[in-house]
Amino acid sequence: MPVLEMTGVRASYDGVQALHGMDLEIAEGEMVALLGANGAGKTTSLRAISGTVQVTGQVRFAGQDVAGWAPHRVARLGVGHVPEGRGTFVDLTVAENLTLGALARPKALRDRVDADLDVVHQLFPVLREFAARRAGALSGGQQQMLAIARAMLGRPRLLLVDEPSLGLAPMVTTEILRALRRLQGEWELSVLLAEQNARRALKVVDRAYVLESGRVVASGSAAQLQQDSTIQDAYLGAEIGGAA
């Protein structure tokens, strides 16, 4: 049974419709990318799942229809969300940001916080080094690492990650995506990664959906999509062809 299933999901901001009937499915332990140009509906799709935008249609997570739920209840059910712009608590310390992540985890996993924190620190040593520093004082890449680490420490069943590469140097992005993939495998969670840079995303995910104008126009395994020149030319051309 899929951990997440979206059926005919529509969403709009101030009367302008951003999703026109999204259908999407993610299996347990799978890492899936949402690809597409700016404004294709990637961010809105993630927000539709975490409850941060009003939707119609069905969003089934872990067997329950969570459409219309308050965000904190969806989070409690096991959805982590690294939002666009990272959502760092800039005036809190790095350590406090991570603690807030750990506080979001299910009670059954509370006694594993220290061990999990070790894993996260090994993956992103800079977060240990700067633990007492104000999160706002970190660089963009470090804040992205913090945002992912924080969401991970909540031990979600499904993690939504919105454009982690935005504004970051290519090498930093690669490091972050690799770390994400590793932890995803180790902790057996499902990941939905929204990414404009298709080439980069397809290197780490299992499958991908291609969005245009608020609906899915293509989907397939990462390998298929990497080879399918028709889809690349139609929807992902610039991103895949581009050197970045």
């Binding site: 904190h72 939002p83 959502g87 760092t88 005036d91 809190l92 506080l103």
Partner: protein, 293 residues
């Protein structure tokens, strides 16, 4: 020299009143991101509640304990009823609502308890203590101690408890807090409750000094606002220190500045603040970077 010392100390005595209210204002600001104009009148309600209990035979400290709990409930309920509907609205809307609360609560107080001033006996007795030649009343010393303890407790709460951390997170970045399973609405209500509790400490402990009347906190609120601005809204210790500085500055101005009589002394601290804010817009202990990301 002794006289200067005496003026400084009694200035500190008044300063603790501003400091305690400024502390409540900074708690609600830090816990919810809102500036509450009604903080003073909510403290007045607490003072009246304590007075009512004491006149019905409660001991002072027993009455204070009951009032702290009641004030918490009042604060949280105020958030639920009046602030929740405008949550996320612009700061101007929130200022308007809390200013409306100020007027409304004050009218309610006058209706319930009448406009006649009342007296509450100091729980510290009417002893006097000599400090290096200057004389302080037991009430001044005792109330200062209570405010300092309150400051320490709220500081420890925000810094060391999980709930305190959640509340800071909810105030600073509500959207992100929700994604971390934090019930932001509940945190905001708790923040208002907590601030009302701190304000209740101010209202009740200083009631013997100020006398109890519907407008007892009016000028203190103004100076507490100034104190929080001076210290920096995000800094509780800064707010308290700001209150003390203002108390001393006001007292010294009225004594030593030529031509300053009556309520004109109140202008002096504002002139001080004006100069400070020209140099440090974030206040003495605030941070400029407190941008809501």
């Amino acid at each position: 020299m002794t006289e200067l010392w005496q003026q400084v100390l009694s200035g500190l005595g008044t300063g603790f009143i501003y400091a305690s209210l400024a502390l409540a204002i900074s708690v609600v600001y830090q816990g919810t991101g809102v500036f509450n104009f009604a903080q003073g009148v909510m403290a007045t309600i607490s003072a009246y509640l304590a007075w009512t209990l004491v006149t019905h035979g409660f001991p002072f400290w027993g009455a204070l304990a009951v009032v702290l709990v009641a004030s918490f409930v009042l604060g949280a309920a105020t958030e639920r009823v009046f602030i929740r509907p405008v949550e996320g609205a612009s700061p101007l809307v929130l200022i308007t609502v809390t200013a409306g609360l100020l007027v409304g609560f004050q009218a309610l107080v006058a209706i319930i308890w009448s406009e006649d001033p009342q007296r509450l006996e100091s729980p510290f007795g009417d002893g006097r203590v000599s400090v290096f030649g200057a004389v302080l009343t037991a009430q001044q010393l005792g109330s200062a101690a209570v405010v300092l303890v309150t400051l320490l407790i709220t500081g420890a709460f925000f810094r060391y408890t999980q709930l305190g951390l959640r509340m800071r997170a909810a105030a600073q970045n509500p959207a992100s807090a929700r994604l971390l399973a934090i019930d932001v609405g509940r945190m905001l209500a708790l923040g208002w409750g907590l601030a009302a509790t701190v304000g209740a400490v101010a209202g009740v402990v200083f009631a013997p000094t100020l006398g109890i009347s519907p407008g007892m906190m009016d000028s203190s609120l103004l100076l507490a606002l100034a104190a929080a601005t001076l210290g920096g809204f995000e800094s509780r210790a800064g707010a308290v220190l700001g209150g003390l500085l203002l108390g001393v500055a006001t007292n010294l101005a009225s004594r030593y500045a030529p031509g300053i009589r009556g309520d004109l002394q109140l202008v002096v601290p504002f002139a001080v603040i004006f100069v400070v804010l020209l140099v440090r817009p974030q206040g003495l202990f605030g941070r400029l970077s407190s941008v809501r990301a």
